[in-house]
Subunit: 97 residues, 2 copies
């Protein structure tokens, strides 16, 4: 039983179906997390919003969207070219009981 | 010269290339708007983030992302079926000079 760190409660949304990320976030809450941060880049930012919304509406009714940050990140490809992509960070918190 | 209303400064991001929406937002700022709200639904939410980020990084350096809201909207199709889609609302404001 190590002390839980806030940084560990991050879900990176990738190419798999949204449900897997929703369940991953749900598991974090069930394991005692007070807040889960959902992150994504590029086109996957749309999926991150869906993950947060379905999580909150269907699985964790006492959760609220605490903060949404958008930004731009630089990615360096295999050829050394730098490309810029949009990014999102959605913080979902459980209300205090 | 009618009085400008805040509600008019909304850009709905659709299927066209991002640049058109970026220029529409830029035009609003150039016409004196202090704040522009960028809205999108479904997969287009990812494009809305890009519109806000490119606008801010490349065209309106004195603008900041003031607020980002995410939510779920219900759409009724032609067949009467109700589907739910994610939505985003990004408020971009000019800093006071």
């Amino acid at each position: 039983m190590t002390e839980e760190k806030k940084e560990d409660n991050t879900i990176y949304v990738g190419k798999k179906p949204a449900m897997g990320y929703i369940l991953a976030a749900l598991t974090q809450f069930n394991n005692g997390a007070k807040e889960v941060v959902i992150k994504a880049r590029g086109k996957l930012t749309a999926k991150a919003i869906t993950v947060a919304e379905v999580l909150r509406n269907r699985y964790v009714p006492d959760a609220v969207v605490k903060d949404v940050k958008i930004g731009t990140e630089e990615l360096t490809g295999e050829d050394g070219k730098v490309s810029r992509v949009s990014a999102i960070e959605i913080s979902v918190s459980k209300k205090e009981a």
